[in-house]
């Protein structure tokens, strides 16, 4: 009488037990370790506890993970660097992970979960050092012979940018100073002679005014001035001001100083008063400075080397490069560099091998290949000479700009810079929209940044 076949209830029971069983089996597998309980030590970065050595050339096969914020279109260049690396260390395989979006999150959550890559690019070193996320590479530099790293072979400004509280945080990645691209055709159409290295802010402004023509969709802008603080530092420093104090502990006294206010006013006026620069909204829609310059909608652009390779490929675009203008009142030009470095994770199981990889990426080999690919400027004078950049009419402007980087940027001076910068960006946006005066905005923000800097975690 009883049905032999499984009825619905039995089926559901069996299914339920199967799911439960497999879940328990999966949970039985070792779970990844949770956040490392790192008691704050007095050393700023995780010190190397073992004596660093060069990894043995022929050893067991290991694999390293390297993270880059470039997009995977850069695969070929990284592959050639890894190829060079493998010539000396054939037993180490390197997997390159590209994360163009949310890169910071990936590294931070990786460190929290114990699954961070072995080597990764980074730029805001103090904040990561405060979280014990960067291995102190100083002991490795001092290794004898070619196992160590001769830092004198780099531009001294680059080493300064990569050294926090006396600690080298990573091997330097190809970098870029800032310079002014200008469209030669638009200059001659406006009857202007091309700018020279000795031009001033006044020359810059009057050229921009003559170059800004048209209305609506035909409008061509003279300059691009966007409400972000990093590039503005150069202009602020040239005028004798600064955003935060040299020791990074407060902003009042510097951010709200007359010099800073005047400098920011000058840069903001380009958008609000003279209207020679697109508004922030238009900047976003038209795809940014590089895109606008490429399509002939922008006559001059203060930028780094990144867009140059694309500009060189564009037909019909004749551009020149010149140093940023000098401040006529102080007669000074101070410039800012954009740098990054290849850092080693303090949690890596293969410290020596990771150091070897970082050396290739950030050493002469890597810098030369990045330079050849046209990504950025190599950090070594010897490589620059080898590639002929010191004589090339365009590239030499980048090299000439380097000595003007005499002030250490704000992010280096405090571990809380990104939070402070959020407040600064907010004020700059308001100023760019004409909703706030420079004086009011900077004074109010200086007080907020004071609080942020006071609460910054110590290194």
């Amino acid at each position: 009488m009883r049905k032999k076949l499984m009825n619905r209830r039995d089926f559901l029971k069996a299914a339920g037990l199967t799911v439960v069983g497999s879940t328990l089996a999966a949970c039985g597998a070792p779970a990844p370790t949770t956040a490392p309980a790192a008691a704050p030590t007095s050393a700023p970065a995780a010190p190397a506890t073992t004596v660093p050595t060069a990894p043995p050339a022929a050893a067991e096969k290991i694999s390293l993970r390297f993270a880059s914020w470039d997009s995977s279109s850069g695969q070929d260049v990284y592959n050639s660097i890894v190829g060079e690396f493998n010539k000396k260390y054939p037993n180490i395989s390197v997997s390159v992970e590209f994360t163009p979006d949310n890169y910071d999150n990936k590294i931070l959550t990786g460190l929290a979960g114990g699954s961070a890559p072995d080597v990764y690019m980074w730029w805001d070193y103090p904040s990561l050092m405060a979280k014990k996320g960067i291995l102190d590479l100083t002991p490795y530099i001092k290794l004898p012979g070619d196992q160590g790293l001769d830092v004198t072979q780099y531009y001294p400004q680059i080493i300064d940018y990569s050294t926090i509280k006396g600690i080298l945080v990573g091997t330097p990645n190809a970098f870029t100073p800032r310079a002014i691209f200008y469209n030669k055709k638009l200059f001659s159409a406006a009857g202007l002679s091309e700018p020279t290295d000795s031009w001033t802010w006044d020359d810059f402004l009057s050229a921009a005014q003559k170059l800004t023509t048209g209305t609506g969709t035909d409008k061509v802008y003279g300059i691009y001035s966007d409400p972000s603080s990093y590039w503005m530092q150069g202009y602020i420093w040239s005028h004798g001001g600064d955003l935060i104090s040299a020791d990074g502990t407060k902003a009042s006294g510097t951010m709200d100083s007359q010099a800073t206010i005047e400098a920011v006013q000058w840069v903001a006026d380009l958008v609000t008063k003279y209207q020679v620069s697109p508004s922030a909204d238009t900047q976003t829609t038209l795809g940014g400075a590089g895109q606008m310059f490429l399509s002939g909608k922008l006559a001059m652009m203060d930028n780094g080397r990144w867009p140059q390779t694309d500009l060189m490929k564009a037909k019909d675009l004749q551009f020149g490069l010149v140093l940023p203008p000098t401040d006529p009142s102080t007669k000074k030009l101070v410039s800012v560099l954009h740098t990054s470095a290849f850092c080693v994770s303090p949690q890596t199981k293969y410290k020596d091998q990771s150091w070897a990889l970082a050396k290739y990426l950030g050493g002469p080999v890597g810098n030369k290949l990045f330079g050849q690919a046209g990504w950025a400027v190599p950090c070594l004078p010897s490589v620059v000479k080898e590639l002929g950049w010191d004589t090339d009419p365009i590239e030499k402007v980048w090299i000439e700009a380097i000595p003007y980087a005499t002030v250490m940027p704000c992010f280096q001076r405090t571990t809380a810079w990104s939070e402070a910068d959020t407040e600064i960006a907010n004020t700059l946006q308001a100023i760019w929209l004409g909703k706030e005066t420079v004086e009011d905005g900077l004074s109010a923000t200086a007080k907020k940044v004071d609080t942020i800097l006071a609460q910054a975690p110590s290194l």
């Binding site: 209830r9 029971k13 799911v19 439960v20 999150n105 979280k131 996320g133 508004s279 238009t282 929209l433």
Partner: protein, 313 residues
Amino acid sequence: MVDKKNLADQKTGVLNFHWTMRKSEILSGYITILPWFIGFIVFTAGPMVASLYYSLTKWGLLDTPLFVGLANYAQLLQDPLVGHSLWITVKYTLFSVPGRIILALVVALLLVRPIAGVNTIRTIYFIPAVIGGVPAAMLWMWMLNGDYGIVNYALGLFGIHGPAWLGDPQTALSALIIMSLWNIGTPMVIMIAGLQNISPQLYEAAELDGAGGWGKFRFISLPMLSPTLFFILVTQIIGSFQVFDAAYVTTSGGPIRSTLFYLLYFYQTGFSELKMGYASAMIWLLFIIIITLTVLIFKSSSMWVFYETEVKK
């Protein structure tokens, strides 16, 4: 006299348990829901408890959590951005939810009739719901651009000079609200189903009593639709308080924090500034707010929601 039943109990020994069919059914039931229950504990209840714990700590993700008691909650009350972002979220909800419900109702009323091609038209109205938040936001970002967008071009044909929309702090929130009104697919489909469930006899009876179009709507459609409207209102409010995608993609909370929704501020605090403890407290505050609102709506429902099976008291 020895009770036979008791003797039987003693005989079964330690378990003292009668395996009856009733108990077998109960056990089947529990086993059947066990997968869901485990999922609930692991992915919902467990993390909620953990988050409640973290809200009482100071935790930077890369260090160990430090117990600070209710300090995070005290800070919540003093943080001007908490009040600011809550107000932005409330403003958004006040305009977006009624706007969407009314728009969905109008469209549903028009599309509930079996006119030619009605299924195609319903699908077209439903497409925004399928596209998803991020592509829709990018699309609207282009359409709403102050200088080059198609919206301002269209306004220009009528002689109106459109604002900078997402680039102007005074209109950015309105721009996001307008964007949300475009996506009425889900409530519309639910309302169509609700309308179709209303018995035609009620409409016939109303017509016999001399009711016109508006009368039929007011005395038949609306009351009979009220359970559906109730459900949509509750779910829309819960969803609207959690709005995130559009602001994250288009404005990042700007310009000048005019579109800093509460969940966006939470994301920045927790994942950009790595203040996990404080962010956990923020999330629990949101939870309390949403739960309170939901309870209030439920309590008010007895006044305006009419279930067909109810009997007049």
